[in-house]
Each structure stands twice: as structure tokens, then as C-alpha cells.
């Protein structure tokens, strides 16, 4: 039973919570307003809080044909390609991680194989892999093999980030399913493959959707791999950095780009808050 707080304490606590929420949310709100401003308004001092919103910045991001026709000089960006790249790479990474990771997770959760825990920790260890130490040799390898700047190569290399996470997350979700159900089905004569397909997978579906959301997010976040191993297939995070031309700061256009990269994660919070929390703190809290 919780003890009762006085109204004054309650008020102070609520105020403190709002202050924290404000600090966490304000930068995003500010960037959204900036993406709706004109360049002159963004550069104004003091910053303008009242303005007539424009969608011109978003148009500039996608309008390859009319590039240069902006009110603030020449800026040529093609933002559609990197967004497509990011979506393709992230979805591909999720699918490969699902296909490869879930069977492995099932074995690690349910079957007795030699060195099981060692294998599990070998896989978890990749969560802390020094990515550059993998990427520096990979650069030459990709150039020779012809995987440089291809979707296939990118999806493969993204597995260094996504696959270990998928194995560990789905292993923990599988362990949540009572073992009795599977054993009962096996007693009734169901083959292991059928048990997996008709009993485990349906029960696992919510967990796998949650894990996939998180893995998509991880892939969406990645920057270093795309920076080094791709050029025309570069993800949106790399394209963002190019919007920050040294010298000419088109802040509102960049803000529009930022808004686009941040919309998807924010939507994901709304869909799967519970799963994201579990995934983001994974390893530290089960």
C-alpha cells in the first residue's frame, strides 16, 4: 500500500514530471517548427515563435527536377533515394534476422546442445563489437567481391548489429512460453517441425512483432556502416549529414530531413511501447 501524499507534494511532483517531459520533448518540437519555417525566419534573432508555416522545405527535399529554384539559393538534394534505401535495407535486415535468428533462438531456448551457453554468449558479445574493426577489413573485401554499394552487401553487414539482438530477444520471448504446451503436443505425436509451426509460432507472434520493430529501429539508426560501405545505396542517416553543407547552412531543409527520419521511430513508440522498452533495455533487464 502506498502512503498518501499531500496535495502540495503531488503538485510539485507533477510539475517536475512535466519539466522533465518538456526537456525530453522540446528539441523535437523545435525541429518540427523549424522545418516549417523560411530560411530567413530560422536565421532571425531572437528566434521567431510566430510564423506562417510553409511546406517548401519538404518540397525541396524531393524535388530533384526543380532543384535550385528555392528562395534561398541553390540546393540540390535527392532525399527519396536514401529513404528508399533505408527502408529496403532495414526491412531486408529484419527479414534475414528473423529467418536466421529465430530458429537459432529456439534451439538456444529449448534444446540441449553442447556448449549452449557459450554459444549464447558468443552471440551476445556482438552487441559490443567494435564496428570499425570489422568494417576496415570489410571495405577491401567488399570492393573485391563486388558487394560494395549493394543492397545485398548492406543487408549482410547489418546482421552484425541486428542478428545478435534478434537471437537474444526471441530467445527470451520463447522462454516466456510455457514448455508444457509443446510437450503435450509432442506427446500427442506431433513432429518437432509441426510443433514449431502450429504451436510455438502463433504464441510467439506478438513477441516477434515487437522484436522486429526494435530491429527495424536499430537498422534505421545505423550510420557508420552505410557511410563506409555504400555510396548510391547510402541510408538516410548518411544523406542527412550531406544536408549540412559547410558554409551554407540550410537549417530549415535539414530540419525537414530530420523530421522525416524521426517520424518512423516516433510512430513505432506509439505502436509498440512495451516491446520497445523491453528491447531497448535488453541484456540489462530481462
Amino acid at each position: 500500500m502506498r502512503f498518501r501524499r499531500s496535495t502540495a507534494t503531488n503538485l510539485v511532483l507533477n510539475l517536475l514530471v512535466s519539466l522533465c517531459a518538456l526537456i525530453l520533448a522540446f528539441p523535437l518540437v523545435w525541429i518540427v517548427t523549424m522545418s516549417l519555417k523560411q530560411q530567413a525566419e530560422v536565421m532571425a534573432w531572437p528566434p521567431s515563435f510566430v510564423f506562417s508555416p510553409t511546406l517548401d522545405n519538404f518540397r525541396v527535399l524531393f524535388d530533384v527536377a526543380k532543384a535550385g529554384a528555392t528562395s534561398y539559393g541553390t540546393i540540390k538534394v535527392d532525399f527519396l533515394t536514401p529513404i528508399t534505401n533505408s527502408v529496403v535495407i532495414a526491412l531486408g535486415s529484419v527479414l534475414v534476422s528473423l529467418a536466421v535468428g529465430v530458429p537459432a533462438a529456439y534451439v538456444l531456448a529449448r534444446r540441449d546442445i553442447p556448449f549452449k551457453e557459450d554459444i549464447a554468449f558468443f552471440i551476445l558479445g556482438f552487441r559490443f563489437a567494435p564496428v570499425f574493426l570489422v568494417v576496415i577489413p570489410l571495405f577491401s573485401v567488399f570492393q573485391t567481391v563486388g558487394l560494395y554499394d549493394t543492397y545485398l552487401g548492406m543487408i549482410w553487414v547489418y546482421q552484425v548489429v541486428t542478428l545478435p539482438m534478434m537471437v537474444w530477444l526471441s530467445r527470451s520471448y520463447i522462454e516466456d512460453i510455457p514448455k508444457d504446451i509443446e510437450e503435450a503436443a509432442a506427446m500427442d505425436g506431433a513432429r518437432p517441425f509441426r510443433v514449431m509451426l502450429h504451436i510455438v509460432l502463433p504464441l510467439l507472434k506478438p513477441g516477434l512483432i515487437g522484436a522486429s520493430l526494435l530491429i527495424f529501429l536499430l537498422a534505421w539508426h545505423n550510420f557508420a556502416l552505410g557511410l563506409i560501405l555504400s555510396s548510391t545505396k547510402a541510408p538516410v542517416t548518411v544523406a542527412l549529414l550531406k544536408l549540412l553543407n559547410p558554409g551554407v547552412q540550410f537549417y530549415p531543409v535539414m530540419a525537414a530531413g530530420l523530421v522525416l527520419t524521426m517520424i518512423i521511430p516516433v510512430i513505432l513508440i506509439v505502436i509498440g511501447q512495451r516491446h520497445l522498452e523491453r528491447g531497448l533495455t535488453f541484456g540489462a533487464v530481462k
Partner: protein, 313 residues
């Protein structure tokens, strides 16, 4: 002798039931190995690349040069002679150390605040997740625009408090502070989420018993809650320490290591060495040093975590 004979006869004529089970287990194992093999093979590929990277750090590999010589530890010897390298080591440790320390303290406060479960705390829970789900590169660029010395909102807010223009990431003296601030904004929620889980795991009866015995709120926190959540704080610190020692996106997105060398942490230096100066061998050597710092730091934190956990239980 008889015993061996007996056992061999029993091996020769096992009961039907046992034989069936033996075959089934073997088949199951075969299946299990087939299921786990693709994941292991993919990851072994990365492990191989990792060792290949360590090997490259012992060569004078440069991009586009056909002849590669094994030069032993020369790359490392050359590195430790330069002041730039030690500056990078210092920047890496300062960045990660101060960021993790501040995040742990603020994360604890944030978790305690949300654990009060006042009305708005329950309503605003999802907001805690917000910084964590944004791409670190977007976070970096978002703060770059906000920290612009001429037109940024941060300086406007400071001017409201009567503080004159702050240079943020454009001055070597303040750049590191600004980066740590960005890291703190982004990852304090990570600590908060984990500590929050720890706080929820504490039995209310323990608190109640302490209160009945006359302990005040602050004393309950210090002597009962804090020791119980200390392992949670430390494990979160281990995760964050590893990631901030390796942090690349936030630093590359804001300062690219500048101004001057003030924020050139090892990962950024490795990138510049390998992919801008095209000295792959030297870049790999920088990364190996970074990795060793990560190992030592993690090892120390895990030891501390084990020690604290033992004392709690």
C-alpha cells in the same frame, strides 16, 4: 573384466525402447545444429573479419597500394609517439566517463520521479523513450542546429537567463562539454528505464517495514533502495560505457572531431586515418587501442557489479 563384458553385452543388445530414444535424440541434435548453423556461420564471418582487422593493424596497408608488408607493432609504436593520439585517448575517456557518470545520476533522479506514479508520471511514461528511439545521427544534427552560436535556440534560452552568447560546439574549450550534454540528453532515459525496473522489483513491504521503524524518506532511499538498485545502475553503466567509448555518430555528426582536435575521440580518429588518409593499417591500430580501452573499462565495471551484487544478496 566381467563388468566390461556385461556392459558390452548390454551395449550389443540394448532394449528396443532405448534404441529408439537414442536415434531420436541424435536426429534432434542434427536438427538443432541445422537450425543454429546459419546464425553461427554469419557471425563467425564477422569474427573472422575482426581478427583480420587486428592483423591489418600489424601491416602497412594503404588503400590502393598493391604491396602490403607485415611491420609488427610499428603502427602502435608510431601512434604512441604522437601527442594527437594521447589527446584522442584522453578525449575518449573523458567523453565516456563524464557522460556515463552524469547519466547515472540524472537517470536515478528521473526513475525516482517517475516511480512516484503521480498522475502525469503515468501519462508521460512514453516520453522517456523518445530520445532513445531517434537515430543518433538525427540527434546530433538536431542539436547542431539548436547549438548554433548565431541563431540557435539554446543561446536564446541562455540569453533569457541573462547569460551572454555561448560558443557550444564551435569552440575547443566548450565543444566537449556540448557533446557530453547531447549524449546525456539522449541516453539518460536508458538509465532511467533500467533503474525504474529495479525500483519496481523492490518489495513494498521492505519500505513499509523501514517506515514503521521510523526511517524517513531520505534514509529509506539511502540505506534500503540504493543498495538494492545499485546492481541495476552498474549494469546499465556497463552497457553505456561500452557504447560511449565506441561513440561515433553523435561526435561525427556534430564536430567531426574538431574544432582543432578537441573532440577527436579514437573512433573518429580511426575513421579519419583509415578512410580519409586511406592508411588502413594505422586506422585499424587506432581501433584496436579503442577496443582494448573498452575491454579494460568493461572488465573493471563488471568486477564492480559482481562485488555489489554479492553484497546485496
Amino acid at each position: 573384466m566381467i563388468a566390461t563384458l556385461q556392459s558390452s553385452t548390454s551395449q550389443l543388445a540394448p532394449s528396443k525402447h532405448e534404441a529408439a530414444r537414442g536415434i531420436e535424440e541424435a536426429r534432434l541434435d542434427w536438427r538443432s545444429i541445422a537450425a543454429i548453423a546459419p546464425a553461427i556461420i554469419i557471425l563467425l564471418g564477422f569474427l573472422f573479419l575482426f581478427f583480420y582487422g587486428v592483423f591489418q593493424s600489424l601491416t602497412d596497408l594503404k588503400f590502393g597500394r598493391p604491396l602490403v608488408r607485415f611491420i609488427g607493432l610499428d603502427n602502435y609504436a608510431a601512434l604512441i609517439k604522437t601527442a594527437d593520439f594521447w589527446n584522442s585517448v584522453r578525449a575518449t575517456v573523458v567523453y565516456a566517463g563524464s557522460a556515463v557518470f552524469v547519466q547515472a545520476a540524472l537517470g536515478l533522479a528521473l526513475a525516482k520521479l517517475f516511480a512516484t506514479e503521480v498522475f502525469l508520471a503515468r501519462l508521460m511514461r512514453p516520453v522517456i523513450l523518445l530520445p532513445l528511439v531517434l537515430p543518433p545521427m538525427s540527434v546530433a544534427l538536431m542539436w547542431t542546429t539548436m547549438m548554433d552560436p548565431q541563431s540557435g535556440i539554446m543561446n536564446y534560452l541562455l540569453s533569457l537567463a541573462g547569460i551572454s552568447r555561448f560558443a557550444w560546439i564551435s569552440d575547443p574549450a566548450t565543444a566537449m562539454f556540448s557533446l557530453v550534454l547531447i549524449d546525456v540528453w539522449t541516453y539518460t532515459p536508458f538509465f532511467a528505464l533500467i533503474i525504474f525496473a529495479g525500483l519496481q522489483g523492490i518489495n513494498d513491504e521492505i519500505r513499509e517495514a523501514a517506515r514503521v521503524n521510523g526511517a524517513k524518506g531520505w534514509a529509506i532511499f539511502l540505506h534500503i533502495e540504493l543498495p538494492l538498485i545499485a546492481p541495476y545502475i552498474l549494469i546499465a553503466a556497463v552497457f553505456r560505457l561500452i557504447e560511449s567509448l565506441n561513440q561515433f555518430d553523435i561526435i561525427f555528426g556534430t564536430t567531426q572531431g574538431g574544432p582543432g582536435n578537441s573532440t577527436a575521440v579514437l573512433s573518429v580518429r580511426a575513421y579519419i586515418t583509415a578512410f580519409q588518409n586511406l592508411a588502413f593499417g594505422r586506422g585499424a591500430a587506432v581501433m584496436v587501442v579503442n577496443w582494448m580501452i573498452v575491454l579494460v573499462g568493461t572488465f573493471a565495471m563488471v568486477k564492480l557489479w559482481r562485488f555489489v551484487r554479492q553484497r546485496v544478496s
